[in-house]
Symmetry: C2
Subunit: 465 residues, 2 copies
């Protein structure tokens, strides 16, 4: 009742039917008129005073002068909204349709995730740590998880760090954004692999960096020698263990050269180790970060593929020098949180569940890749199939001048979500036509039919050229 | 064994003891020397080829030329690291010590949070939605939560929106960052309340904005008329329902004036409704967003205080025009995730648990404020005590020229974490000395003693002047 009365009076004041400067009826009179208690009116008037609609003066409760402003606001023609300039590149990007899922790259087999084990780890974290872990916690993340990650990275990837250098982030995207925030100024130059990961480009556009494509060949990133002089970088994004999407491994010669020149240039290398846990041929590739002590490498990773995408836990390993210098900034910029999930993950890792899960997934992805490769080789030459040393995708090169975007669009109508290789480059070459085909989320039995459909679409495209 | 052999050979190559251009021993010879199987050596050599340490040629396996680069890298003197210029303001900020908790502002009573109910909501979400909710989900957040928030805001705060306008964020900080990313260019001007919320300043510094302080009086933000001309803003940060930290309510006259002038200037008002659920006097203050249709208001809020800080769920309500124009950008920049927590929260709200919890907390905070106010009035005049219409803190004004930072530092040694009012301003006035005293997280029985200690420290400071 009171709320309605307050709202009613406000409207009359805003609309001007209780004019500016006029006195409201006395509370007794209005209460009688409306058939409510006098107290109801008194409290309503007090509320109007609190919000500034009326003022109490000697004569009573007076309406202040605001209704003309309301009239102005309502009659003002709204200009078109100007969004930030940095969003310009995004206006050209089409959103991925979420309902198409067959052969979608970058997506793990979530139907094979050990839900019961994870549930146990979550409940264990809830029961053992509440209510303490409801609070803010350390901005850089739960120490037990940061330590577990440092240990894991050291053993499996040769990354040299301890838990204090590990920042827990909201997945890879947040780790990239943090690199930009900590180390670049607007208009600094950032190099990205071309073709390469679109999330890196998104982070660099969002950070107002000049984003320059650098070609990738079968040995990985290939930097023209004078580019260090003509486009001196501040950040260089790399996926050296398994280039996304071509699958190239960055040779140790190129790694060392990159490190040396980055040091000369005062640049930082971002090493994105996005799927190295799923190595299919031989031993893991050692990290670039661990290759030379004090190399200017920012190592990032994520549990989106090794655990599940919605977990949203990633990490950034910073050199000690940055941790020291950016201490205050990190505490102001980061907010921590998600402590139960972080504790659950730490337990999941330490209990061995994570390792067992990875083993099962490796075997699964290896098998699915075999099925995909076999299916592709019914229609295409082996030399057209790139990548596959690790991860959950293969890249199929197609003849030059083919419209891979059109093939992908047509494939969507069949529920197939493979991606066009040309869309991975800022500056695609004419030769750069192909499909990036994921197998992480597709059952082996569904792969051959889906490949047949793609092969047919490709054949149609070739004959119509 | 293989891993060790690979590591051993790599080291020798990097150090130059297996010189560039030389041939590795044949696999048979090395296997005999080391007493391992020939297969072990063969696979090790294949790995070295894969990483580019060696090349297989007609004569055997040859070491490539890289060791001179290693020498260079190891002998290069590292320059001091230059961090991003935007971090400069953060170097002056001291981190809050986490162990001091009495009277800490901005922190809810986490020991009173209904852990069992939340546990039930979480488990319900786990059991009813996995494995589907392990996947990426919608970047802007779970629809059921976005709808629940839209409904709640409409009823309780008069915010006009539907679920499609609600973006789920990582708390308030992420919501502020998103406003900056979507709507500003580097060097644009942002106004902040002075004294005001440091998180807003952090977001604006991080976004390369010129951050300009605007004074706050008892009616809220007070903008000098020519400031719209001399410092035309793109963003204006406000906490209009309960200014943080002074507690002022922004009068409706000032709200309408702000809205009208913001429209003229093409500026956006950020309305941070950080603690309005805990209103202690009378009805909720209606939102600025709902005051006038199509007002240029970005409404942000968070569940950090109404639920618990580690939950890290906040929201940003965008006008429809922005949602439409920024569609592509939102899908590229946001990654969604945390779906179980979002579903659990939606259930917690819809089941009525959230409303019941808020009711209990309101009563708790009202009582604690009473105890704090009584304790303060033993030592100070009522006119020195600001705020208290809502929330979990009071602000105690102290005489001019007192060093409130020193008082706060001394209070830390007693485990008291009240904050110095002068630290809330970019440009504090000499009169702006005081303490911001939280009662959300402090038991009523601990409040009087803590206040006595503060009173003593203040008395000491006054007598030593």
């Amino acid at each position: 009742m009171q709320k309605q009365l307050i709202g009613h009076l406000k409207q009359k004041i805003l609309m001007g039917s209780l004019p500016a400067g006029s006195l409201l009826p006395s509370s007794r009179v209005l209460a009688e008129e409306l058939g409510v208690s006098r107290n109801t009116v008194v409290i309503a008037y007090e509320h109007l005073v609190a919000e500034g609609y009326v003022l109490a003066d000697r004569q009573g409760t007076r309406v202040i002068s605001i209704s003309n402003v309301v009239g102005y606001v309502q009659n003002t023609i709204l200009e078109p909204i100007s969004l930030a300039r940095r969003l310009e590149p995004f206006s050209r990007i089409q959103s991925q349709p979420v309902s198409k899922t067959l052969l979608l790259p970058g997506t793990p087999a979530i139907d094979r995730f050990p839900v019961s084990s994870w549930r146990r780890s979550l409940i264990r974290a809830i029961d053992s740590s509440l209510p303490h872990t409801l609070g803010y916690g350390i901005p850089t993340g739960e120490p037990v998880l940061r330590d577990a990650i440092a240990t894991y990275l050291s053993i499996v990837r040769g990354v040299h760090c301890d838990g204090s250098q590990v920042i827990i982030t909201e997945g890879t995207q947040d780790a990239l954004n943090l690199c930009v925030t900590l180390l670049t100024n607007p208009n600094d130059i950032a190099w990205v692999e071309d073709p390469g990961y679109r999330g890196a480009k998104a982070a660099f556009y969002a950070g107002d960096l000049q984003t320059i494509p650098v070609r990738v060949d079968q040995e990985g990133l290939t930097v023209p020698p004078d580019m260090w002089r003509t486009h001196p970088p501040k950040l260089i994004y790399t996926s050296p263990a398994h280039q996304y999407p071509t699958g190239a491994v960055l040779s140790v010669a190129r790694r060392l050269d990159l490190i040396a020149r980055a040091m000369q240039a005062g640049a930082w290398l971002i090493e994105d180790d996005y799927d190295s846990e799923f190595r299919h041929n031989g031993e893991s590739i050692t990290s670039m970060q661990g290759l030379v002590p004090d190399a200017p490498v920012l190592y990032i990773g994520s549990f989106s593929k090794t655990m599940f995408p919605a977990l949203r836990i990633g990490f950034l390993v910073l050199p000690r020098t940055i941790i020291r210098q950016a201490q205050g900034a990190l505490h102001e910029l980061l907010r921590g949180g998600h402590r139960l999930e972080q504790l659950a993950l730490a337990h999941f890792i330490e209990s061995g569940e994570f390792g067992r899960h990875l083993g099962r997934m490796r075997r699964l992805y290896r098998e699915r890749q075999r099925v995909l490769r076999d299916a592709l080789m019914k229609h295409f030459a082996e030399t057209q199939i790139l990548g596959g040393n690790a991860g959950m995708h293969l890249t199929l090169k197609l003849p030059p001048h083919i419209n891979d975007r059109k093939i992908v669009e047509d494939a969507h109508t069949h529920g197939i979500a493979a991606r066009a290789l040309s869309t991975f480059s800022i500056a695609p070459t004419e030769q750069e036509c192909g499909l990036v085909i994921g197998y992480g989320n597709t059952h082996a039995e569904d792969i051959p039919d889906a490949v047949n459909i793609l092969a047919q679409l490709i054949q149609d495209a070739l004959t119509s050229q």
